[in-house]
Amino acid sequence: MTMASAPARPQSRSALKRTFERYPFLPALIILVVLIVLNGWFQPRSLSFVGITGLIKTYLALMLLAVAQTYVIYAGDIDLSAGAIVSLVNVVVVGFMAQWGGDGLTILAALGLGLATGLACGLVNGIVVAALRLQAIVATFATSIFFTGLALYIQPVAGTPAPTLFWRTYGGRILDIPFVFYVVVAFAILLVVLVRTRLTLRLLAVGDGQQEAFQSGLPVTAVRIGGYALCGVFAALAAFCITGDTASGDPLVGGKMTLFSIAAVVLGGSALAGGYGTVVGSVIGALIIGFINSLVFFVGTPSEWQNLVQGLAILLALMAGVLVGRGARA
């Protein structure tokens, strides 16, 4: 699918183009910097320590979900159930925390169970798409309906509170540093480790050309299932952040996040067709969405116009990202 960009690479390429090719998230980074400057211009306090902490607290879940989506898109697939997995893990975690008491150990046990749930959902998606060879868009839509049903079964209505210890920790500070910063560091280390794994490389190879990957001996089906499994695990991590942020269980909390996660991946310069992209770009993409939303608020847009301006800004950013990215690569 990326054939068009492959042939006839001229010998003399400008250094700029080489840089863009090496770091496909550069256009996104530029957009992000502009947005940060504008945010600071219109509301200096938004760039204060407290302001940044708040933004990270709110958008950490979307960053994680965008990363989740990236691994699937690497292989040229897509996961429309990512948001439903977030909802399911959210109610599972909150449900078990409430049932088991809510002290430190039971919280960890519930989180472990949440990770297992995410992994299981990812495996289901992988098997349905890669092993049963159904079309990813419609098949993961079907599984999203199933996961949402499961979440509604576990907790029919929103509102079960998460234990105080859990959300206090997420929103609080350790050694005077907000807890979310530790999460960000841990997340960064995890991503660095994952970039170096064989699975990431294989996902990209499969996305670049499934047939070729198969012919060079890659277990294509297993690799694609692996991508979905990784997506499920990261969706579970995103659910933990949502739970920490909202401090309650809601069987529909993640539904709206799916399309934003896909937008974030595209904003980050990854190709939807697969075989090309970075997780860093997706994190930047999620931050772009976050900063657009806060900027629209800070410039004083009337409340009923905010959604429209956000929608337009995201559409323009998506188009700009695709165009600049292609121009730089061509």
Partner: protein, 331 residues
């Protein structure tokens, strides 16, 4: 014909029957019949004339949206239109406000809605062809814009009412005891069959859908054709939005969202693969009917919402197994 059709044990005849039964349209129709039978056994009266008429009306709404989706998917190059749900909602609101319960406002509402749908389709088409943004990305971004626009127009209050004439068109018998919307669906079905099978434009759709490069070499105006597909998708979604207003009486928040992904599933169940280039609308009509009957059966049987969704999700997956699956890898 006669000797082939007799139940002889010749493998050729058996193969032909299997080949016939594997056509997506036939699969969909068999499933529709089976589901109607199942519904009737689960709750007597499910397959009564009145009930079937109601199912057909709901299916027509989905089917009209799916017509546009079908065209975009047929055009290939990952063609998909995620913005249809937004256009349906927008059209319903615009129509409701323009007619405000008066029959006199219907013509203006129809013209305005179709123009709106065409305009957003045009934006999508331009983004996809001239700027070469992937359709999924372009229409996803457009969906966000449309949802924002809905908030602006609505200003938080439900507004707009269907004119009585429109409501009658959707739900009251019009000709031979069949409501107007079903006649409209039949006409759309015939037009689509004519368009795809008999016109130059129809052949071009299949050409760009199966091999864009070859179509371009053969002189097909690829970009213009693809823009036209997106415009038509917007127009069909707008028509569905007007009909939806007539069905529900007044327009409320995001009524169209429920059509976004189901319209894609109806297309797939109708035998048009998402890779495009083959398939048609007749199958999609059956696919839309299939989806609606399935949902209706789940409402009939006495389980709560969670169980209903789980069963619906699994059933969709099982049904997908009947349709074209991807090729298995061969060395």
């Amino acid at each position: 014909m006669s000797d082939a059709a007799t139940p002889s044990h010749s493998p050729a005849a058996a193969a032909r029957i299997v080949e016939f039964a594997k056509q997506p349209l036939v699969v969909a129709l068999i499933l529709v019949a089976a589901l109607l039978y199942l519904g009737e056994t689960l709750s007597p009266g499910f397959a009564s004339g009145q009930q079937i008429m109601r199912l057909l009306i709901v299916a027509a709404l989905l089917g009209i949206v799916a017509a546009g989706q079908n065209l975009v998917v047929l055009g290939g190059r990952e063609g998909i239109d995620l913005s249809v749900g937004g256009v349906v909602s927008l059209s319903a609101i615009v129509a409701g406000n323009l007619m405000a319960g008066e029959n006199a406002g219907i013509p203006l509402a129809i013209v305005a809605c179709i123009a709106t749908g065409a305009l957003f389709g045009l934006f999508n088409g331009i983004g996809v062809t001239l700027l070469r943004i992937p359709p999924l990305v372009m229409t996803l971004g457009m969906l966000g814009v449309l949802q924002g626009l809905l908030v602006v127009i609505r200003q938080g209050i439900p507004s707009g009412r269907a004119a009585p004439g429109l409501a009658d068109f959707v739900s009251q018998p019009f000709l031979f005891g069949v409501p107007g919307i079903l006649w409209l669906w039949v006409v759309i079905g015939l037009l689509m069959a004519f368009l795809l099978g008999r016109t130059v434009f129809g052949h071009r759709i299949y050409a760009i859908g199966s091999n864009e490069q070859a179509a371009y070499m053969a002189g097909v105006p690829v970009k213009a054709a693809r823009i036209a597909l997106f415009v038509l998708s917007g127009v069909f979604a707008a028509i569905a939005g007007i009909c939806l207003l007539g069905y529900s009486g007044s327009s409320f928040a995001n009524v169209g969202e429920q059509y976004m992904l189901p319209s894609i599933i109806a297309v797939v169940f109708g035998g048009t693969p998402l890779s495009g280039g083959k398939g048609g609308y007749t199958g999609t009509m059956a696919g839309a009917l299939l989806l609606v009957i399935l949902q209706s059966i789940l409402v009939t049987i006495n389980i709560d919402e969670s169980g209903r969704q789980m069963v619906f999700g699994i059933t969709l997956l099982v049904l997908m197994l009947f349709y074209g699956r991807g090729r298995s890898m061969r060395a």
